[in-house]
């Protein structure tokens, strides 16, 4: 730590750095982090007024706040969470605002895709509203506003609060590149999930017991549902850091789905659905439960290797 003297004032540059870190607290590209947002959160929205201060939770204390489900956020690299309650007018329930800072914009997108039900609203990125709950992602943040009981007035307050918070986040962020490599034909955009954890995958697509895919923070995965001419299928892409890991995962999942080695064409499962497993460099491509062989083969063939050679 370097000590700098300015006149009679001694400033520890390390301390200065710490102050700056707190000011941005994980902020990227000059965007404010949680600490920066903390002092800017709205005090009021459509008659709902902030109750008390803003609570800040870290990777440990989040368990006391999100009872039983904190692991979902930790699985996406959550670094912190701001929480604030808003008391409603007489006869209206409270609102809960939660602002999660994730490990990256990709993870903010990923945790957003954990639950994609809802109607689209133009708030943040990909804003969704359902049953009194607004969710969106922007930059490295995932934002949730929940009305504890829904009403027309509460809905408007939820949306206004969401708009206000979205405006405080100045960096938009980009979805993970892997999501953009899902074949577009027949893709159900609302079914796309981004993840890198077996537990998260299990909640969307259960492939049997055990972590055969070797999912980890360094293995981004995209999962999606397809519908072509009335025929459905699911496609899972996983990018591994090296071809060896992709090869092992391909062999393991092929043994489960195909009862044989990966790399060939689709195989018909006992339940009458078609599955396929192929390796493209460091990428694993898995088609699950296709309604017919042609669809399974098409999805396998339309997915390439990772860009950059992989």
């Amino acid at each position: 730590m370097m000590r700098v003297q300015i006149g009679k004032v001694v400033v520890w540059s390390g301390l200065l750095s710490l102050v700056l870190l707190l000011a941005t607290c994980g902020g990227r590209s000059g965007a404010p982090g949680l600490a920066g947002l903390r002092g800017q959160l709205p005090d009021e929205a459509r008659g709902w007024r902030a109750a008390g201060g803003v609570e800040l939770y870290d990777q440990e204390s989040i368990f006391s706040y999100i009872d039983g489900h904190a692991e979902v956020y930790l699985a996406y690299g959550m670094t912190g969470c701001l929480a604030r309650r808003y008391n409603g007018p007489p006869g209206e329930a409270d609102l809960a605002l939660d602002v999660f800072e994730m490990g990256s914009p990709a993870d903010a997108y990923g945790v957003f895709t954990y639950d994609r039900d809802g109607e689209r609203v133009e708030i943040g990125r990909d804003g969704l509203y359902r049953y009194g709950w607004l969710s969106f992602w922007k930059g490295s943040f995932f934002v949730s506003v929940t009305a504890e009981s829904e009403s027309a007035a509460a809905r408007e307050a939820v949306l206004e609060l969401g708009r206000s918070v979205a405006a405080l986040i100045t960096v938009a962020g980009a979805p993970p590149a892997l999501v953009g490599e899902l074949p577009p034909d027949g893709l159900d955009a609302n079914s796309v999930r981004f993840l890198h954890s077996q537990q998260i995958l299990d909640t969307h697509l259960w492939l049997g017991e055990g972590a055969v895919l070797g999912l980890a923070p360094d293995t981004p995965a995209a999962l999606a549902h397809y519908l072509r001419d009335g025929w459905s299928a699911h496609l899972l892409l996983v990018d591994y850091p090296d071809e060896g890991r992709a090869e092992r995962a391909a062999a393991a999942i092929a043994g489960r789905l195909l009862a044989g080695p990966p790399g060939g064409g689709p195989a018909l499962g006992q339940e009458g659905r078609w599955h396929g497993v192929q390796q493209r460099g460091a990428r694993l491509v898995v088609v699950i439960g296709a309604a017919n062989e042609e669809l399974a083969a098409a999805l396998l063939s339309e997915t390439g290797a990772p860009k950059g050679g992989g």
Binding site: I66, S144, E150, D202, H204, W206, E209, A211, R256
Partner: protein
């Protein structure tokens, strides 16, 4: 479209939920070395009363107590509830009442109290009965318990699909997250721990306002609970949970107007049967006794 499957037919291969599938396949049907043969059949009581909840939606303690006693008597096929309780609990027992304090949907204190009253009436010293959830590993009564009564509300759950009686015992391990893998497939192993094995005398799945879907970080919305006004009571936790799961699945079909399987699949119920031998998950082998109000029972 995919064919319909239910929670207790995990051998069906493909399940679809929310536009995505869960593929249920290997392992569920096997019985490993630690397994034991489950009972051939199990008896479960579903009791409902229209007056179980007051006008404000809060449980009526007196009605709950009556429902509990009626269910226990019917379960054991004994006319007098007091005699039925004495069949379950002996005067020398030390009893832990395993509750659930999840803030959005906790075990009603009135039900905890009704159980405590009956346990004491069965001859247990008041100092030998305790109610706890998060503190069971440190609770002095729980640490010397000879019997447990397991009582919790039914709800959907991020990791296990459903928060069940089987799931409720996860607080008996120091690191619950260790059991979250494979949608909590190995929850049954907890019931084999020496401090629990053979000691759970009664399981009560609270279906007063069950939660059939979860949204948001706090996994709760009043939009996804409904006044079912019931209790499911049994000695076999697997049969109790399998029965509750059928009701939740039926409610999801009714509410969403389409097949919306619970996600992740709550296969810990069937695995508790097939791998751990803790009870019966097959509805064909569950003798369901229905008591009280049965309108829209969904089962």
């Amino acid at each position: 479209m995919f064919r319909r499957s239910t929670v207790i037919t995990r051998r069906d291969f493909v399940r679809v939920g929310g536009g995505l599938a869960a593929v249920g396949l290997l392992g569920a049907g096997r019985r490993d070395a630690e397994g034991q043969e489950p009972p051939a059949r199990s008896r479960v009581v579903l009791i409902r009363r229209q007056d179980a909840l007051g006008e404000d939606g809060s449980p009526d303690g007196r009605v709950l107590h009556e429902m509990l006693n009626e269910a226990v008597a019917a379960l054991l096929e004994i006319a007098e509830p007091a005699a039925a309780w004495k069949r379950l609990i002996r005067p020398g027992d030390v009893v832990g009442i395993k509750s659930n304090v999840w803030r959005n949907l906790a075990t009603p204190p009135a039900l905890e109290e009704a159980i405590r009253v009956e346990v004491v009436a069965a001859g247990v010293a008041p100092g030998d009965v305790a109610v706890d959830d998060r503190g069971v590993l440190e609770n002095p009564v729980f640490k010397r318990a000879t019997a447990f009564i397991n009582v919790r509300p039914m709800r959907t759950h991020h990791w296990s699909g459903l928060g069940t009686c089987l799931k409720n015992m996860i607080m008996f391990v120091p690191r619950p997250a260790d059991y979250h893998g494979d949608a909590c497939a190995s929850l049954g192993a907890i019931w084999k721990l020496p401090e629990l094995a053979g000691k759970v005398r009664l399981n009560i799945l609270v279906m007063l306002t069950p939660q059939f879907h979860g949204v948001g970080p706090h996994s709760f919305s009043p939009a996804f609970v409904w006044p079912y006004k019931g209790l499911i009571v049994g000695i076999d936790p697997v049969a109790v949970d399998a029965t509750g799961a059928r009701i939740i699945e039926a409610k999801r079909r009714e509410h969403f107007g389409e097949e919306r399987p619970i996600s992740p699949p709550p296969h810990h119920i069937q695995i508790a049967d097939t791998r751990y031998g803790l009870g019966v998950s097959d509805p064909q082998r569950i003798d369901l006794v229905r008591l009280g109000w049965m309108e829209n029972a969904l089962i």
